[in-house]
Assembly symmetry: C2
Homo-oligomer: 392 residues x 2
């Protein structure tokens, strides 16, 4: 688990990876285009959104990742190039070609991402013009790349950690339209450890399942979700089990960072379910609590209305739920016993609900299934941001 | 459909039904206790919440309704008597007994309902004292009864319509924690038509399926949902098909009224899905659009961010969705064609999204499945109300 892993105080790149970001005129002045590059070919794997309306970069990315080799990722923010038809796919190809030309590689070694508003054509000429000369900006700070892919994020997101002689670096963005079910909005992982593409794919899926796939800001699954890993091998081989532990810990920490920076969020909410009939039911119950608007507003208002936890458990119609064996805790303080609200001092619960991290735990007492889900509170800030996202 | 039915300008009761409501000290001054009574025994049927933590009145009500005969409904607001253990069920029984004594009938002919905060014991002595003498307040105006069961509702809700020589009257409450999946919060239907209990049960379920069960304010399923129908037969027999048509139309209209008065809501949102593979998939897609926080905030802000409609359709992973055959309309104005956002004048879409009633329609083009779902926009008012519900 993440407790055993130490992340670097300031995120750094593994050997051979660098990035650059620029404003190319998609946003008024903020950086809106990022290039990540490895100095040598890297083995690569990726998982993408399961949404039935995948963006053009996802359609192209599924084709690209089949090769199992990447040199670079080119990503823009502001416009997601989704629901843009064959012209959108053509624009994604032109973006890959421009980055490949700039780096002296082939377009099928460049992964393309776009994030932002849906249903608007990409201003491809601005992007092509912006890519030219970007190699001269390449630098060692992952935060520079994280900046260029931000949409409603309030801060750029990058992490790094060591595993043996190698380094793993996570760069991500995402704040709303997040319940990935396959990966999160845009999440890139770089390492200098040596793995082949099929192994990387297996490790990535194992790390994503209990982390990014248990994240929900607002139940809405983006059309652009992408999680990719690039391993350029410059640090040689490392122990696979140790690598997977660090990989998963970083994905878990990045999941928490994304949840805490959910649109309008003021709290990170972690929901732990134990004693479910099986893992599937544990997932369903954890997501039900995490996604309940009434639980989310209870946390937001630090209102000790703990009956809502039972409501959210109880609406999992198809799960095995026994009121008599159901207990619940908030930050370790028990509020429900045997399916009944316990007598407690409201002020104590109010205080604990006011903390930045709120851990909600439920024990169902019917089996061994466990799950942890990650999300945030529901605030007026979320409504504000999303009532005018297109227009602002 | 509802267009063929005329509701009375002012709601009235069928022959033999009356109601009373009082403040008995659960709320500071507003009415918090309602008695509905028939002067003769009425055939009765009811459907209840599927939540695994049903309130004490639901546990008792499931037992009571087996008899198929009711004389009265006694209902309080402010405290829902949920998650209150065996003491809660005992309180519900005492409430039925007090009403039965007041009316000179048996307690198994009284349906009990409680609505309000979860996990708090009912102040049963106040309720028993308040029920005494209530028969002398009985009157003909259904709105008086509707008033006593309000929680966060902004207005009392009652409707009536004629069917042959009989009348049907609907009285309901509900504003938040509403995605019934079986019935809505509290919804009572009174008629003087003559039907036996099994027939009433069948008609009620037929009417509830496309109406209350397609309502969602916030995806949260209450622990107290109850929908009951009482038929005292004083108007004699009426045509069953005609009765069902009027019954369904009233349930549909009441569903719309509840949705429009969803907590914090400023719009009624109706989502129509056509051309789904089958009816089940039509329901899933309609609910996905209706419950998407990003669609709800788009309506709230009248923001022409129509790509969100595709996102919400596309996240129905297990449904058959073909981008090439997917079209969408807002109040009849086409915004998506063949899975792509159409070029349109933003101002036109902004204007239509500003209307009080917003009809979102999607045609999937893969089959004959149809469904309509009812809900509302997501506002800062919803967050405000629910961040301090317990405390206020």
């Amino acid at each position: 688990m993440s407790s055993a892993i130490t992340f670097h105080a300031t995120p750094v790149f593994p050997r051979g990876f660098r990035c650059a970001s620029r404003n190319v005129g998609l946003k008024p002045s903020a950086r809106d285009l990022t290039l990540f590059a490895s100095e040598v070919d890297a083995a690569a794997a990726a998982v993408f959104t399961r949404n039935h309306f995948p963006g053009a970069p996802i359609i192209l990315g599924r084709e690209t990742i089949k090769g199992g080799v990447l040199r670079a990722i080119i990503a823009n923010s502001k416009v997601s190039n989704v629901a843009t038809g064959t012209r959108g796919v053509e624009h994604a190809r032109r973006m890959a070609m421009a980055a490949a030309t700039e780096l002296g590689t082939a377009p099928d070694r460049v992964l393309v991402s776009s994030t932002g508003v849906i249903g608007v054509q990409l201003p491809i000429e601005k992007i092509e013009a912006g890519i030219a000369g970007m190699t001269s900006d390449l630098q060692d700070n992952p935060m520079v790349g994280a900046e260029g892919i931000m949409t409603t994020d309030t801060h750029p997101k990058a992490l790094s950690a060591s595993v043996g002689t190698a380094t793993i670096t996570w760069v991500a963005k995402g704040s709303g339209m997040i319940e990935p079910n396959m990966a999160t909005m845009l999440s890139y992982i770089f390492t200098d450890a040596a793995f082949d593409a099929p192994t990387l794919d297996r490790l990535l899926r194992a790390a994503v399942t209990p982390t990014f796939n248990m994240l929900s800001v607002d139940t809405d699954t983006s059309t652009s979700d992408t999680c990719a890993i690039l391993a350029n091998g410059l640090a040689g081989a490392v122990d696979e089990a140790e690598f997977l532990a660090v990989l998963t810990a970083g994905c878990r920490r990045m999941t928490e960072i994304l949840a805490r920076d959910g649109e309008g969020a003021e709290h990170l909410v972690r929901v732990t379910v134990r004693g479910a009939l099986n893992q599937t039911e544990a997932h369903v119950v954890a997501k039900s609590i995490l996604n309940s608007p009434l639980v989310k507003t209870m946390v937001h208002g630090a209102d000790p209305n703990v009956g809502r936890l039972l409501m959210a458990v109880g609406k999992c119609f198809d799960c095995t739920i026994r009121p008599a064996t159901t207990d619940a805790w908030i930050n370790g303080f028990q509020v429900v016993g045997h399916g009944e609200r316990l007598a407690f001092d409201d002020a104590v619960v109010r205080e604990t609900l006011s903390r930045e991290v709120v851990d909600l735990s439920v024990s169902l007492g019917v089996g061994d299934g466990e799950a942890i889900a990650y999300g945030c509170d529901l605030t007026k800030g979320y409504v504000d941001e999303n009532a005018s996202y297109y227009s602002s």
